[in-house]
């Protein structure tokens, strides 16, 4: 998952970035509205965390511009003002959720996960494509209720593929959303992780959960469970 953090307080920005990285996110950050808007426009990300009180261009203005351009990226706003007036303004402008400062990072991560899942059409914290299921809150993976031990990166790849189950995901998109820095990644690494995932999820090759479409990318083939 790739996140963009736009926050002018360097200490808070640093804390958020570190927490997101620890959770396996690729993160870009900006300390002003102008640069932040540029990041959102230029880099495809899965979520944007935007502080409302930004220099150069206010957070509200950034959100307005993002939405004006038709970008549907989930946006979590951070605000020091807890009044409903401010919350409503932000949500009205196009944000999807808000957090009042100060906040606990667990709370922030929970909100971010909900926003990302929601953007892919999942409403539950469990992503289920039977028999494979992911618990996004605990980052655990199950096949037929049997827990599968995945590394952090393997989990990231699987989560991304399952969130977009049925869609063709190119290697470029995968690297963009999973790697922090595009320069030092090698698409062969992705192939390695895909192979390992297949072995772990489907040791006897009966499920074939991940399909390779030559020259186009990968597709998670198992059907999404019905949403309630």
């Amino acid at each position: 998952m790739r996140a963009i953090v736009i926050e002018d307080d360097i200490d808070i920005q640093q804390q958020i970035v570190e927490r997101l990285k620890a959770e396996g996110f690729a993160v870009d950050s900006a300390d002003n509205g102008d640069e932040g808007l540029y990041l959102v426009q230029e880099y495809p990300a899965d979520v944007a965390i935007i502080d409302l009180g930004l220099p150069k261009m206010s957070g509200l203005e950034v959100i307005n511009q993002i939405r004006d351009q038709g970008n549907k990226i989930p946006i979590l706003i951070l605000t020091a003002r807890g009044r409903w007036q401010d919350k409503v303004e932000g949500l009205d402008a196009g944000a999807d959720d808000y957090l009042v400062k100060p906040f606990h990072h667990e709370e922030m991560m929970a909100r971010i996960r909900v926003l990302i899942r929601r953007a892919s059409g999942w409403s539950d914290s469990r992503i289920v494509c039977s028999p494979v299921s992911l618990d996004t809150a605990t980052q655990r993976t199950y096949v037929d209720e049997r827990e599968v031990d995945l590394t952090a990166f393997e989990y990231k790849v699987l989560e991304y593929l399952m969130l977009h189950a049925g869609e063709v995901i190119s290697k470029t998109v995968l690297t963009e959303h999973l790697y922090d820095d595009e320069s030092d990644n090698d698409s062969n690494v992705i192939e390695v992780f895909i192979r390992r995932l297949r072995q772990k999820l489907d040791p006897d090759e009966s499920l074939k959960p991940i399909e390779t479409l030559r020259g186009r990318g990968y597709r998670f083939t198992l059907q999404r469970a019905e949403q309630n």
Binding site: R83, W84, Q85, D92, D96, D97, P102
Partner: protein, 436 residues
């Protein structure tokens, strides 16, 4: 004042001019009439070439009374005097040249006496039927006229000065009388500044009473706000002391254990809540009478669409039974805060549906009811929320500051807030707004 004086002077000048003009015209008319009657009395001499005026045919007795002040003379073509009235005792200068058929009316000074003089030139056929020019001149003593005029002027200006003076006095008194309340306001402001009194008295005339009443509201509000800030600061300082003491204690430890990190976290959370609560409490809450009306329905619309976004995955059904418009005199921020917190709770604790209604009440006051289908609150919890004056740092853990802030705002606007158990389950929050 200046305008009044200028107006009076200009009026007097215009009046005087009109009167003088009218009087002169009247004099001229009289003399003209005289000349006509003279001409009617003219007789042609039997020897021709000259005419005489027979006295008995003149109806104006002044012309035959000596020194009467009215004199008439007749001149021929060679400017020779051929006749004069019997009233004449002194000589009169020959007249100047006047065009035939023209009247020449003038005020002339002769032997230190002012005269009106009217001269008329005409042609008259002699016995040979040849036209001869004649000049008829009448003189009339104008001393009486000027005396009268000066008397008129004196009277006019005297009355004018008296009237102006009286008017000025009356104006001054009226102004003083009508501005007296303002002077009183000035004195009261001074007294309020010196903290000798806290507001304006109520005995002002109807025109000014709204002003002083509003100023009183403003003063009260300002006082209220000041108290509020002071209390908030006071509460803030006091309530921060406990968590600070805990943290100070922790900072003395050489190493921090996991349970201690938990304590650290609890205390910072608590401090955060305290600060947020006091901040909310210190700001906002305008006076109902000063705020412009806001539409509660629009506010609910805004909040519901925001909250539906936040609680999207709960897919809560919002049932609304509201009129098209609900106008309230309340600060928009405060209104958003109260309704926002109540709706947020409803979304948070509700399971499938929320009802927002405005039932009709007997006394025509406006009511808003927000109902959810969640767990609801116990009587004790409701009691605790509604227990005014419960300081947040004494309130239960995990309750959040939302309802404490709501209770606070609601109290300052005299809005009745009540919680009941909804049927069959859930919480029913009702707000009863005071009549505007």
């Amino acid at each position: 004042m200046v305008v009044l004086v200028a107006f009076m002077v200009l009026t007097a000048i215009a009046l005087e001019r009109a009167v003088v003009k009218r009087a002169l015209q009247a004099e001229e008319d009289v003399l003209q009439l005289l000349i006509y009657s003279l001409l009617g009395a003219v007789d042609q001499d039997r020897q021709g070439l000259s005419i005489t005026v027979s006295g008995d045919r003149l109806f104006e007795p002044s012309l035959v009374t000596r020194n009467s002040g009215l004199y008439a003379l007749l001149y021929d073509q060679q400017k020779r005097e051929i006749w004069h009235s019997e009233s004449i005792t002194i000589g009169f200068p020959r007249i100047g040249v006047t065009e035939l058929g023209e009247w020449d009316f003038q005020i002339v000074e002769h032997l230190a006496t002012p005269y009106f003089r009217l001269n008329f030139a005409l042609q008259w056929p002699d016995t040979n039927n040849k036209l001869q020019r004649y000049d008829v001149v009448v003189w009339r003593n104008a001393v009486g006229y000027f005396e009268q005029l000066s008397r008129f002027r004196q009277t006019l200006w005297a009355w004018l000065i008296i009237t102006t003076f009286l008017l000025l006095v009356v104006m001054y008194l009226v102004t003083r009388w009508s501005l007296r309340p303002l002077q009183k306001i000035g004195l009261e402001v001074k007294a309020i500044e010196d903290q000798q009194q806290s507001g304006f008295e109520q005995d002002y005339p109807d025109e000014i009473a709204p002003l002083t009443a509003n100023l009183n509201i403003l003063l009260k509000r300002e006082q209220y706000q000041r108290d509020r800030y002071r209390n908030a600061m006071d509460d803030l300082a006091h309530s921060l002391k406990t968590p600070l003491a805990v943290l100070t204690g922790l900072s003395d430890q050489r190493e921090i254990s996991l349970p201690q990190i938990e304590t650290l976290r609890e205390q910072t959370d608590r401090m955060n809540q305290i600060v947020s609560y006091q901040l909310q409490k210190a700001t906002g809450v305008a006076d109902i009478r000063i705020s412009k009306p806001v539409d509660l329905v629009k506010i609910i619309d805004k909040l519901v669409s925001a909250l539906e976004k936040v609680y999207q995955e709960k897919a809560i059904r919002v049932e609304r039974k509201l009129p098209a418009q609900m106008l309230l005199r309340i600060d928009e921020g405060d209104c958003l805060e109260v309704v926002g917190n109540l709706l947020d709770n409803a979304f948070k604790y509700g399971k499938k549906r929320i009802a927002i209604e405005s039932p009709e009440s007997e006394d025509k006051s406006m009511t808003l009811v927000i109902e959810d289908d969640g767990e609801g609150l116990t009587a004790a919890e409701i009691e605790q929320i509604l227990n005014r004056g419960t300081r947040l740092d004494q309130a239960t853990e995990g309750q959040g500051i939302g309802l404490a802030v709501v209770a606070d705002i609601v109290e300052s606007y005299n809005i009745e807030l009540d919680f009941n158990t909804a049927e069959p389950v859930g919480l029913r929050a009702s707000l009863k707004f005071p009549k505007i």
